[in-house]
Amino acid sequence: MSLLQLNGVKVHFPVKKGILFDRTVGHVYAVDGVSLSVEPGQTYGLVGESGCGKTTLGRAVLRLVDITDGEVVFDGTDLAKLPDEEMRRFRRRLQMVFQDPLGSLNPRQNIESILSEGMEAHGIGADQTERRERIRKILARVGLPANALSRYPHEFSGGQRQRIGIARALVLEPDVIICDEPVSALDVSIQAQVINLLEELQQEMGLTYVVIAHDLAVVRHISDVVGVMYLGSLVEEAPSDTLYAEPRHPYTRALMSAVPVPDPEVEDNRERILLTGDLPSPANPPAGCRFHTRCPWKQDTLCATDRPELRDLGGGHKVACHWAEEIADGRISPTHNAAQVVPAGHDGHGGDDGDGGSTGPAEAVKTEKAATAAE
């Protein structure tokens, strides 16, 4: 049984206007119907470009934002409908690591105060001595010196601060940790250290992670299952290796193709998809498939009218695309109104013979956005 299950979770932020009393004039559909499940001890990676709602989804799990609709079932309890105080108590078992290590630490608290606050809130440890003992253990475990206790966040380096953030989550001995871009604010050399620390901790303590990131390499490295988000909904979900080996959704293909390959020959000849246009506004998402405005494989039927459900293609590989099989088989070729098509090694308009799905050197479709998302 899965430890954490999301059923049709929606987070809609009202857009308000008004002088004295606010009036709702519209909604931003930040998360619009996401269902997924996370098994205990697993790492679920969420990827997507900026503004696709992945951070909001992570916060929704902890009810840090109001859930408009849907269920967040954690260990048999629907968190979405819990009263505030009970939700607060549940947060001991669901913790979060934030993107900005400095911003997420109160500058006026020293490390001891930061780390003992959660324990105080949940009544862990009889007195400060007992708490301090526990804090010391955790500090040693995440690789911070014991004299860090009386120091303040600004006296640490970026990597150390993130370790403090991880320690803060760990002292409560949670079951699930949601890591919201845990390493994107860190230097590449430090990123590896923090990722490795997270993995070690998972093995030792049997933690379950939901890792939110836009770095495809990081997600691939750490995740068992990866979900790809686009404009508030999941477009594809598959075991990590499967997803990276054969992405099925057009958007995932665009994302993957933006990851540079260190081999120059492969780099020159591989398929590249450069999507045109911007991410549509989540306040006014396109009808039908959210991606159809930018999809190179857009068809005249279904795409603009029907919203595709996430369906299982076998082996836990789920795709929200009406034409996933046809694209994979090469029965549908990319249309060129939505994407710029550049054959490898040439400049200008490419041929129409490309099947898009094959790894053949002829076809290259590019995406600007995907490049940003993969950075």
Binding site: F21, D100, S104, L172
Partner: protein, 317 residues
């Protein structure tokens, strides 16, 4: 070889021992920066002198500030005034009283008005703004509504020109020193309220507040333990700057004749007003109190600005 390793060990020990020294909180660091700021030192010196004068002034004043000891030597209708001389360092005023003694004694009134008025503005303003900000941070529909209503009232207060508001309050409450204090204080309320509320609003949306919430910290503790302490710096700076404004506004109200009805009691604003009539023949009588007001206000402004810089989180090293 062994000596080398010994050396390294000793070095490691030394560095480690300094490392164990307790960390510096933001307040400690701000204080350190404040001490090294020239602006702060000059401001603090001016304020120090002013406060000492205000406290001991009446006892060290060489003469009574109200006694007309040299009657006959000053003839206002014939434009005869007495300037600085050995027994009267700043000369005599228009009623033949010692100007120096009056300046010394007058400092107390000015300081009293400044402090009481600022304290009034700070207390009420911080309470209103803090409550409003806390309501907003605690969230919910009710919180937002409370905040909206309170802030609209504050906006209305802010829309009135401060001196005009002070004049009307003074006019309603009658002429007295208390009136001046209340009038100047009330004018400060919306400034403090808006400032604290705005700072709390900004801090309320910060990551560490979200983190505390994710940690399961109770909302009341978040509002009072996290948001409020982090929102205080601008208010502290404003308090210092407000003292300067309050002193100037109190002087202005006294100048306009809304201060202490007993004009024999020296007060810098009143002295300035009285000296105006004889400005042609004895300009220095206006210059002394004016200088007093300006220098004091400058002292508070300098300290306030230095504090603003010291407390700025962006300058934190």
């Amino acid at each position: 070889m062994s000596t080398k390793t010994d050396k390294i060990d000793r070095l490691a020990e030394l560095t480690a021992s300094t490392e164990t020294s307790t960390g510096a909180s933001l307040w400690v660091e701000a204080w350190r920066r404040l001490k090294s700021s020239k602006m702060a030192v000059i401001g603090a010196c001016i304020i120090g002198v002013f406060v000492v004068v205000a406290i001991v002034g009446p006892w060290v004043a060489p003469y009574s500030p109200t006694a007309q000891l040299w009657r006959g030597e000053v003839l206002t209708n014939q434009n005869v005034f007495v300037g600085p001389r050995a027994e009267n360092w700043l000369g005599l005023d228009h009623l033949a009283r010692d100007e120096f003694s009056r300046m010394l004694v007058g400092a107390r009134q000015t300081l009293l008005v400044g402090i009481v008025a600022t304290l009034l503005g700070f207390t009420v303003g911080a309470l209103v703004g803090g409550a409003s900000g806390a309501a907003l941070v605690l969230g919910g529909k009710v919180g937002r509504r409370i905040d909206t209503v309170v802030m609209r009232v504050i906006d209305m207060m802010l829309a009135l020109p401060s001196l005009l508001l002070a004049v009307s309050i003074a006019a309603v409450l009658g002429q007295s020193l208390t009136t001046v204090m209340i009038a100047v204080g009330v004018v400060q309320i919306p400034i403090f309220a808006r400032l604290l509320r705005g700072a709390m609003l900004a801090q309320g949306g910060s990551d560490y507040v979200l983190a505390a919430q994710a940690l399961g910290v109770r909302k009341r503790r978040i509002a009072l333990g996290h948001v409020l302490p982090n929102s205080l710096s601008p208010v502290i700076v404003q308090t210092t700057l407000s003292l300067a404004t309050a002193i100037i506004e109190a002087a202005a109200l006294s100048y306009l004749g809304l201060g202490n009805p007993d004009s024999a009691v020296p007060e810098w604003g009143v002295m300035l007003a009285q000296a105006q009539r004889y400005f042609d023949s004895a300009p220095m009588l206006a210059v002394y109190p004016a200088l007093g007001i300006i220098i004091t206000a400058l002292g508070f402004t300098l300290l306030g600005e230095a504090m603003r810089e010291a407390l700025d989180p962006k300058l934190r090293s």
